[in-house]
């Protein structure tokens, strides 16, 4: 090329080459950081685990990437399952797999809290949006709701299973007692026995001597006076120490010293911290267990109707056409009478007429006219059975 007449420093050129190379390196670093994800190798490892445990179809189907449970009804965006891939494999993969692959422990109430509806953070806390372990579990300096881990629980003198009850009770607050929430149940019992409502108003009822406690769990931590609190400045510590020794934390207080044991004070602290507002739709709030029991037996509580040799189809009809929802065989009355021994009580002709049109039998025979009164005013509805179905049923019922 021809020599330039008025060129600026030739150094410009050298710097430009250097800057170009640095630019390329920086872009490469950024791209590497983006694609070298924390969860990538974990997902590969899980696929191997699936293969090792003979879950070949699932291993073949496995697609890498971020996974999330999204439920806008309760505002859940949980990406925990990106790494905690074994969560739904309870029973199929061993429970002693190393974290994060271990299946969720098979708790009896897991069915009432299905994963697609509840996600993970509702119970466990943590930052659902995150896709790295530290940001998901602790969330950094500005995340106020860390995962309720073993480590955190130990620091508070509890186990993780006890600490999690704090979150259970956010929804289960109105249960008198809930299976699986021993500490909270104990605390609720204490609240009743120690008569906290004499001085504190909770949900509109109670005294005005002490502060209202309805949403104690939502109170701004900065509004507590930590002057006399030992240890970390947390609401947990404040509440616990205040319950154990009110006068030390809030001098000259009217609150008596109840002489709680440490475990009791911790349970009460869990209860207090669980009193938070939530905007869950009603279908997510449990009906209190005590109130929900119907005073009568449900069909699901009784077993299957008995087998009768040679009357398979009749038994099937009994199970699938709805007979079993109103009649048991030998397990007591549900809506209609227990049909054990009906074969001896009624002949085939009677059974055929009844199954074809129950109301006609009531009308035709005066001795059965009182039946509706005995059965909550209900006459058995006509099931619109076909002739074959009636034959099969009669064959079955006459053997009972």
């Amino acid at each position: 090329m021809e020599p330039r007449q008025d060129e600026l420093e030739r150094q410009d050129f050298a710097w430009m080459v250097l800057a170009s190379l640095v630019f390329f390196i920086l872009v490469a670093i950024a791209a590497w950081r983006a694609f070298d994800t924390e969860y990538g190798p974990l997902q590969g490892r899980f696929r191997q685990i699936l293969e090792q445990h003979n879950q070949l179809a699932a291993a073949r189907r496995f697609r890498p990437g971020i996974r999330q449970i999204w439920n806008p009804e309760i505002g859940v965006v949980d990406r925990c399952i990106t790494c905690h891939l074994g969560y739904e494999w309870g029973g199929q993969l061993p429970t002693d797999l190393p974290q994060p692959f271990a299946p969720h422990p098979p708790l009896p109430y897991l069915d009432k809290h299905p994963f697609p509806q509840f996600g993970c953070t509702v119970c466990h806390g943590g930052q659902g949006w995150a896709t790295t372990a530290s940001m998901a579990h602790v969330g950094g300096e500005h995340w106020q709701s860390p995962m309720l881990s073993d480590k955190l629980a130990r620091r508070l003198g509890l186990t993780a299973a006890q600490l999690i009850q704090m979150r259970c009770n956010i929804c289960h607050r109105h249960d008198l007692s809930t299976p699986g929430m021993e500490e909270i149940n104990q605390a609720k019992d204490l609240v009743k026995r120690k008569k906290c409502l004499l001085c504190h108003a909770i949900e509109g009822k109670g005294g005005l001597v002490g502060p209202e406690l309805t949403y104690f769990g939502d109170k701004n931590p900065e509004l507590f006076d930590f002057k006399n609190v030992t240890g970390a400045h947390t609401v947990f510590n404040w509440s616990y120490q205040h319950l154990m020794n009110p006068d030390q934390i809030t001098p000259n207080t009217t609150m008596p010293t109840f002489g709680f044991e440490q475990a009791q004070a911790r349970a009460l602290t869990l209860l207090l911290l669980s009193w938070k507002r939530n905007n869950f739709p009603p279908q997510y709030i449990p009906t209190p267990v005590e109130i929900a029991q119907p005073p009568y037996k449900l069909a699901s509580a009784v077993g299957e109707p008995p087998m009768v040799a040679g009357a398979e189809s009749g038994r099937n009809i009994f199970r699938t056409r709805g007979c079993a929802f109103c009649h048991t065989v030998g397990q007591g009355r549900l809506l209609g009478p227990d049909l054990k021994g009906v074969g001896a009580r009624r002949d085939e002709r009677w059974m055929r007429q009844w199954l074809a049109d129950p109301a006609s039998v009531i009308r035709a025979y005066p001795e059965f006219a009182h039946w509706p009164d005995e059965y909550d005013g209900i006459v058995m509805p006509n099931q619109n059975l076909s002739a074959e179905e009636i034959n099969a049923l009669v064959a079955y019922l006459s053997k009972l």
């Binding site: 950024a30 983006a34 940001m135 995340w143 106020q144 400045h233 911290l273």
Partner: protein, 435 residues
């Protein structure tokens, strides 16, 4: 022709402007190129030097370009709704490939642009480059500074976290202190009496469209004025010392913005009034240096973005004020003033918001705007760093600058909870937490 020759010829047709051969091509490269024709064909060597301008104006413009590109991309992911904004920020950090880089680049480039704009203004002042015909451009520059600050401020609210909500609360409450119209201004800005969905949407539309549009328009005018004024003020000492006779300029052939400016055609002045030895061809000398500056600015932005994350605090909670609640750093000096200038006169307390928030910056702005006409120094003081003749002016400006920076530093590093002073080394009381 062989394939190699064909490719070479094709490359030539595409790239000739950036790599001209000979003087004729060098001139045409500028004049015939839409992107390059803002430059004159020849530029004074000193104008393009690092030591004169540090290319600060160019750096600010490049940062603005980065902001535009990253901002446009961010618009595909961010949702300006009070319910969804925070979640969309979290998604950018975790669920969008390279979303974190996009967001970080945007944030750091924004802070950089505000800082560089200030530095550029300081450079222009210290080199006395606002005098004579350049006074109008000085005013345009002030307008650019204000719109840049406003763009940064409107963007600050968008993440809808605690930092955003309360910084804007402090900022808009300072605005409210303006006499007579303050309350109304705040009401219109927020679309209500509180910072809520209306405020978020207004700030969003201002931030992504109207203010950038204003900046582009002002920027275009700013650059046009530079050409109209004959180039950077660095050429003025050269013109004083020239041996060549100035050419008689025709008064016609002048484009103006609504006829507000008068004068001669643009590019002609400097190149005919300066010695040839003082000049270089814009292409490739200046264009190459510009590419270098672009690369360096990009490098620095990416470097900082890769290693430092943009902050995101807890979701906005109007019921809980963080302790302390601070304005964005470029307004911290105002917050310092506001916090300490409440004056009791007899039974009346004049609010610090009025004195520190409106009057002081108002006076500073007015002084800056009027300075070109208050400056009585001779033409010899133009276009040189720290000209002796202007030393009192420079000292005044430097003092104000240092004070502002000092107040900002105090606001960042020394102010703690309850706005008490916590000198470096003194730990803050631990923030209470739930667990």
């Amino acid at each position: 022709m062989t394939m190699r020759e064909r490719l070479s010829a094709l490359w030539r047709t595409l790239a000739w402007s950036w790599d001209p051969r000979g003087e004729r091509e060098a001139g045409e490269a500028i004049v015939r190129n839409l992107w390059l024709h803002w430059f004159p064909a020849k530029v004074a060597r000193v104008s393009a030097s690092w030591s004169y301008s540090a290319w600060l104006g160019a750096i600010a413009a490049i940062l603005f370009l980065i902001l535009n590109v990253t901002g446009l991309l961010l618009m595909f992911f961010y949702v300006p709704s009070t319910e969804k904004a925070y979640g969309s920020m979290k998604d950018l950090d975790y669920a969008v490939t390279l979303g974190w880089l996009l967001r970080n680049q945007h944030r750091w480039a924004a802070h950089g642009m505000v800082a560089v704009a200030f530095l550029h203004m300081a450079r222009v002042f210290f080199t006395g480059a606002y005098r004579g015909p350049r006074a109008l451009n000085w005013l345009v520059g002030l307008a650019l500074l204000l719109t840049t600050l406003l763009c940064s401020f409107t963007g600050y609210l968008l993440p809808w976290d605690q930092l955003a909500l309360w910084a804007v609360t402090v900022g808009t409450n300072i605005a409210r202190e303006a006499p007579l119209a303050g309350e109304f201004i705040r009401y219109v800005l927020l679309g209500g009496t509180q910072i809520g969905q209306n405020a978020l949407l207004r700030f969003y539309v201002l931030h992504v469209f109207f203010i950038p549009l204003a900046i582009w328009a002002l920027f275009a005018y700013h650059m046009w004025r530079v050409r109209k004024d004959g180039g950077l003020a660095a050429i003025e000492p050269l013109r004083l010392n020239r041996q060549m006779q100035p050419k008689q300029m025709p008064a016609t052939k002048s484009y103006s913005l609504w006829g507000l400016a008068r004068g001669t055609s643009a590019a002609v002045r400097s190149s005919t009034e300066l010695e040839e030895s003082d000049q270089v061809f814009a292409s490739p000398s200046v264009t190459r240096r510009l590419v270098l500056v672009v690369l360096v600015v990009l490098n620095v932005t990416i470097l900082i973005s890769v290693f430092f994350n943009a902050p995101l605090e807890e979701a906005a909670n109007p019921a809980l004020t963080p302790n302390p609640a601070k304005a964005p750093w470029y307004f911290l000096w105002l917050q310092e003033l506001v916090a300490s200038t409440t004056i009791p006169i007899g039974s009346i307390r004049i609010s610090g918001g009025l004195i520190g928030g409106i009057i002081v910056p108002g006076v500073l702005l007015a002084a800056a705007a009027l300075w070109p006409w208050l400056d009585r120094s001779s033409p010899a003081a133009e276009g040189v760093w720290f000209a002796r003749e202007r030393r009192w002016q420079n000292a005044t400006f430097a003092t104000v600058l240092v004070l502002i920076v000092a107040l900002i530093m105090i606001g960042i590093f020394v102010r703690g909870p309850y706005w008490r002073l916590y000198w470096p080394g003194t730990p803050w009381p631990p923030t209470p937490r739930t667990l």
